[in-house]
């Protein structure tokens, strides 16, 4: 598996899983309060995210590559280990699995309970919920697209991967008109956590002066090593039984 393939996969899967969560938020409010305002919120959030990527992506080219790899690698390590830690805790039965149908029910109940908020033809409740949901979920994707693309000098690959994932989720949402509960979100998050941590180790290592044996070929080896560590930790957790804490599904 080449570095570009892993790069594409990481951006695509991260965007896919975050957009599935954003879609649930938008669907919950749209089904109850109408579609015009939430769709305007989605458009505004996507616009803000596009500006972030368009400004920060090319700007990273001005940073020396070694400095960039150290900083981005360290951030990706911190960020990736958060994803991986949560994924292991979920897979090991120590944390509740993320459930899109439950999230949809909660979002729908909140949208029904909220009072009227229409002003100048826009339902500001729907607009704000959709805008905030897409922006917050999308920020992680923008971070991954910019850092992965900028550090490997392949912003085109990560932007295309994220855009493709966005199109796939939007198309599925339009067809199904229900939360994409059958997407194996928790498994995808596990894989994305592994990929983020792998690139974090690789780039932060280069930034600190490490010469990786085999250069880019070290990437799949690091990925395999981390996958084994994560699998062992998951198995260790599964051997125990934990009472799940209420509200631990976040």
């Amino acid at each position: 598996m080449s570095a570009v393939t892993i790069l594409f996969l990481a951006a695509f899967l991260a965007c896919l899983v975050e957009m599935v969560e954003a879609l649930t938020i938008v669907l919950a409010v749209g089904v109850v309060r109408g579609w015009r305002s939430p769709l305007m919120g989605v458009g505004a959030a996507v616009g803000v995210l596009a500006v972030i990527v368009a400004v920060l992506g090319p700007a990273l080219r001005l940073v020396p590559v070694d400095t960039l790899r150290l900083v981005v690698g360290a951030l990706l390590l911190a960020f990736g280990l958060q994803w991986l830690r949560k994924a292991i805790l979920r897979a090991g039965g120590c944390k509740a699995l993320h459930d899109e149908e439950e999230a949809f029910r909660e979002g729908r109940a909140e949208a029904e309970a909220a009072g009227p908020a229409r002003h100048q033809g826009i339902d500001w409740y729907s607009f704000t919920v959709a805008f905030k949901g897409v922006l917050l979920e999308g920020l992680e994707v923008a971070f991954i697209v910019v850092t992965f693309g900028g550090t490997q000098r392949r912003l085109d690959v990560t932007v295309v991967a994220a855009a493709l994932a966005l199109v796939v989720v939007l198309a599925a949402g339009l067809v199904i008109r229900a939360p994409l509960a059958r997407v194996p979100e928790n498994t995808i998050k596990f894989v994305v956590g592994l990929l983020l941590t792998t690139f974090g180790v690789f780039w932060a290592g280069e930034g600190t002066g490490v010469n990786w044996p085999g250069s880019d070929l070290a990437l799949p080896v690091i990925l395999a090593f981390l996958a084994v560590v994560a699998a062992l930790l998951t198995r260790w957790l599964r051997d125990r039984e934990y009472p799940l804490q209420p509200g631990a599904a976040a």
Binding site: Q82, L84, K86
Partner: protein, 67 residues
């Protein structure tokens, strides 16, 4: 002031997350990796080993807290 602290809390949660010791462990590992590489020794093993240890330590703390 409240908005500023909310902004700082957002970025802390975004980068550091639930367990600050993981972030602290990463910073320590980066320092060790740079030190080993600077002295001319092979340093490729430092970060993968550190990540495995930091991750296992964080998971173990969750397990201990549940007991």
């Amino acid at each position: 002031m409240r908005q500023l602290s909310a902004f700082a809390a957002f970025w802390w949660d975004f980068v550091v997350g639930d367990d600050w010791r993981v972030a602290a462990g990463i910073v320590g590992a980066l320092g060790l990796s740079a030190l080993v590489a600077h002295h001319g020794f092979p340093a490729w093993w430092v970060l993968p080993a550190a990540v495995a240890l930091v991750l296992a330590g964080s998971i173990a703390r969750v397990v201990r807290a549940r007991r």
